[in-house]
Symmetry: D2
Subunit: 147 residues, 4 copies
């Protein structure tokens, strides 16, 4: 499936919106890949992202998965619309304590109102990649909401 | 359904584990209610918890929902077991920008291995309460994992 | 939350649409309760609804949960729109082999485009009620689709 | 990821269990592919599988997705254990009215207690394949339950 942006300005718009997500900055997330229908976000392990056993908190894992899915959707939205997550589901496949966590958001089905995306999260160390989580996200295109 | 703790030490254990969740401290979450099968967590609005439109980021909302559900489950776990979220699903019903966000985690079905919990998130201001999100969580009891 | 139908004809419309769901007839489902925002559907135990251990198949349980949630939503839709399920999530809490299975669909958040509903399924016998499943459903209002 | 059956008898066991699912026979489902960690099930369009607009009912779509995921998991289970679906989530991407509906269940993460599988459903006609639904399933291995 070829995914075509409806806005000439899609790349700039996604980068600006991501920079405006104060929560992503608070977590330390970086956008490391961006193309139509696909966004990757990375987190480096820091103590303040962990739960009680020293693994990445499911909330941190889910947060970058959600933003990766949402921005993958936004790459395809028309001008003058904004993106909101309406729901998602995530399965946490393996506890993660690798140096880097990457969330890969990919659009499965673009739509005028609803876009469905998948996000997979991997824990990366020097020579291994562990599948940490997989999720399905429904993103809504909201007219008149600046993004 | 009456929910009975299997550990005499349940309250102390939950409080200690919550204090050890560095991620919850990073978000500024507080445990404001605790009884067998039920935990409430609160967040105060802060710019670093927002997304690009100034609402609480879905990741922040989900993170306290997940911890509230997980600790509601842990109140009922046997000694010598720890809690991990295996999966969850959340519907974001309304964007939230209220001064306070509260997540109410409630056990729906306790079990030796799997516990199912619901969490509802509300935005609170002086005189209103808005239903922000509702989710279903599967929590796993893991033997030999300290909690 | 008071839920108000937008169509004067809501009751007739829901009953006619349900009767047109050949799949519900194939399962033997009956509509036993109907009010704005709420629909209950029942199934009687029959061998052809079971999985390999003699319990109701998760597919049968989910099917009446889905239709109950969908019709609860349709009670609130404007004239000239139809209902489609866009996604759902269900937790199967207990295996069920009771004589009667009832799915209770309830609207949590009505909306012009998206409506969120919950459905709980119970197994009923003479003197007991077992919580069999709980689910969250997103229903979409589609203009120009007859229902 | 290479997926290895733990039971020498895995193929025979899955086929026998599927034949014992009266609900699958009631829907008319056929098992058309079977290997370790992967099962495909097919349905032919019949009026009794439809909802009110003539599309496959979401319940029928979900039912074969659930059984495909469950049997994909069962291919990897140890002798003397049975399979139960504990929860799933499904996104309905496109309404389907093709002559054939196929659900492809694939194990994402095998486990002693919990196995996570994905199922994708496609509508097939002579020369097209439409992505109808995608879902995530949690399957539980239950000791002492014959399968």
């Amino acid at each position: 499936m070829e995914l075509k942006p409806r806005s000439a300005d899609w790349e700039q718009r996604v980068r600006k919106s991501f920079e405006a997500q104060a929560f992503m900055e608070h977590l330390g997330a970086r956008m490391v890949h961006l193309e139509p229908g696909a966004v990757d976000l990375e987190l480096s392990m820091r103590p303040e992202l962990t739960q009680q056993h020293g693994f990445f908190h499911a909330g941190a894992t889910s947060s970058i998965a959600d933003s990766a899915a949402g921005y993958a959707a936004l790459t395809l939205f028309a001008d003058g619309t904004g993106v909101l997550t309406t729901e998602y589901k995530i399965n946490l496949l393996n506890p993660a304590a690798q140096p880097t966590l990457v969330a890969r958001g990919r659009v499965l089905k673009p739509g005028r109102t609803l876009t469905i995306a998948q996000a997979d999260v991997y824990g990366l160390s020097d020579d291994t990649q562990v599948h940490v989580a997989t999720g399905l996200f429904t993103l809504m295109s909201v007219a008149g909401m600046k993004d």
